[in-house]
């Protein structure tokens, strides 16, 4: 196995090879051990500066990236659109080039527009990590989801994963589909027909509109949040009806003939896509996902930094 990634940026899972994911996971195993030490820090990236540019709100992802960067001893600067010159009309390239002229080596960016990271990677001279671009991709989330499945079930290949909820607006869903298929898992999506993109079968995934049937089929259920903030029209009659058809509760989970693993990328709307008793049960690995997120992001940043030549 190569000790180097095939890419210079992490723009999406679509651009990765299977070997890249294996290398990231193997490296993340080491970092997971590091972050459980009494002193949770290594000096590898002490001469690297990373800018976290968040043009869209985020708590978990941003904290996770920042912690990963600090655990690697990188210098970190943070930027959020709310308090910036973007409001004064500055373009994305200008904003980023201004930041890069302060000698920044890597940019972690979340942006509401799909393809923002790809656009940036063509115009600026720094490694770009996509931390979510609109409804397109959220590669590190998909990596940490697969890493958590691998940790819980031994491997991802051959496992059956159903992604439930708002597939249409979800970058987590798309990145997960790419990542899971690349590793040889079977994938189905489940949700209201209005929230499942047309032609999604062309990505090699099945569609199921009955939650119970989907759960009976799967080994892992990834429950997505209904992204009300991205919905310009009404996609289902009411939240109550959504909960009745696609909400996961403990009686439903216990009625299944087998044990399944429950995941959620957060933030959870308790009582909507998943009830509290399920979220807090032993079936759920939601907090493991969060812990693994730091280790996986350390691995991604470390491996990309290794490609920045002095």
């Amino acid at each position: 196995m190569s000790s180097e990634l095939s890419v210079k940026h992490l723009l999406g899972i679509k651009y990765l090879q299977k070997e890249d994911i294996e290398l990231i996971f193997k490296t993340a195993d080491h970092f997971k051990e590091v972050i459980n030490r009494p002193i949770k820090k290594v000096p590898s990236l002490r001469d690297i500066t990373i800018a976290n540019l968040f043009f869209e709100n985020s708590t978990r992802t941003r904290l996770s990236f920042e912690l990963a960067e600090k655990r690697l001893s990188a210098d970190v600067i943070n930027f959020s659109a709310a308090s910036s010159s973007v409001k004064k009309g500055e373009t994305l390239i200008d904003t980023v080039n201004n930041i890069l002229s302060m000698k920044v080596d890597m940019v972690v960016m979340r942006h509401p527009n799909p393809g923002a990271g790809i656009f940036l990677s063509k115009h600026v001279n720094a490694s770009i990590v996509n931390a979510g671009d609109g409804a397109h991709e959220h590669p590190t989330q998909a990596l940490l989801d697969s890493y958590s499945i691998r940790e819980r079930l031994g491997e991802v290949a051959g496992k059956k994963v159903v992604i439930v909820g708002d597939i249409l607006h979800s970058r987590v869903a798309l990145s997960n589909i790419f990542a899971l298929k690349l590793q040889g898992a079977e994938v189905k999506v489940c949700g209201p027909k209005t929230l499942i993109p047309k032609h999604i079968e062309s990505l090699g995934v099945g569609v199921e509109t009955n939650l119970k049937a989907a759960l009976e089929w799967c080994d892992v259920a990834n429950m997505l949040r209904v992204q009300n903030e991205r919905m310009d029209i009404s996609y289902f009659p009411s939240t109550r009806e959504y909960v009745k058809q696609f909400g996961l509760n403990l009686p439903l989970l216990e009625s299944l003939k087998k044990e399944i693993v429950i995941m959620h990328p957060g933030p959870i709307n308790r009582g909507v896509e998943i009830t509290s008793d399920v979220a807090d049960s032993d079936h759920a690995i939601i907090l493991d996902q969060v812990q693994n997120g730091v280790a996986v992001r350390m691995a991604v940043i470390y491996l990309l930094a290794a490609k920045i030549k002095q």
């Binding site: 000790s3 180097e4 490296t27 080491h30 051990e33 590091v34 030490r37 009494p38 002193i39 949770k40 820090k41 290594v42 000096p43 590898s44 990236l45 001469d47 690697l72 470390y302 491996l303 930094a305 290794a306 920045i308 030549k309 002095q310």
Partner: protein, 179 residues
């Protein structure tokens, strides 16, 4: 490429026993002592030393660990390809312990420099000593010397010292390889 035998299996056997004996001389019952093999190849030396201490000296409850220094190296981004990390396994805190680093070849001293930083993640040791099977003297980049030394070797930079182990490479031997 030529290959010269520096030590054969019998000589290695004798040296390992002598090193173990020297450790016992300084550490007696190993109550506060921990043995740390440096990844990737120091772990084989550490394993052998541990076996001798157990079998010959009846020291059955030795504390041992393996330390990987990849993320502490000072040549990150300077080489052609990044180095692959290995497993670190230290299931105890080294706070106030007497740590003995064990490695196969001491060359520039940079690995040990990295190990000195890495071990601090597990606490503040009372002292740290170094045991190396081979000491390539005159090629040090840093002021680091072994406390327990198997064999001193004079080799030029173009030459390589390779330590082979039965369990990993099929034989116990130390070779000097020149281009």
């Amino acid at each position: 490429m030529s290959r010269k035998v520096l030590l054969d299996s019998n000589q290695i056997h004798i040296i390992l026993h002598r090193l173990a004996c020297q450790l016992v001389e300084n550490h007696t019952d190993f109550k506060d002592t921990v043995l740390i093999g440096i990844q990737p190849r120091g772990i084989f030396v550490a394993k052998r030393i541990e076996e001798i201490l157990k079998q010959e000296y009846g020291l059955t409850d030795l504390r041992t660990g393996q330390l990987d220094i990849t993320f502490y190296r000072d040549d990150f981004r300077r080489g052609e390809k990044p180095l692959e990390a290995n497993k670190t396994r230290i299931d105890f805190i080294v706070e106030d312990k007497r740590v003995v680093f064990i490695d196969d070849v001491l060359y520039t001293g940079r690995s040990i420099r990295a190990a000195l930083t890495a071990i601090q993640s597990f606490g503040r040791p009372r002292e740290i000593e170094l045991l190396s099977l081979i000491d390539r003297r005159f090629s040090r980049h840093l002021p680091i010397q072994p406390d327990y030394n198997g064999r001193q070797v004079d080799a030029i930079n173009e030459e390589k010292v390779k330590v082979s182990w039965q369990e990993n490479d099929g034989e116990d031997a130390v070779y000097l390889i020149s281009k």
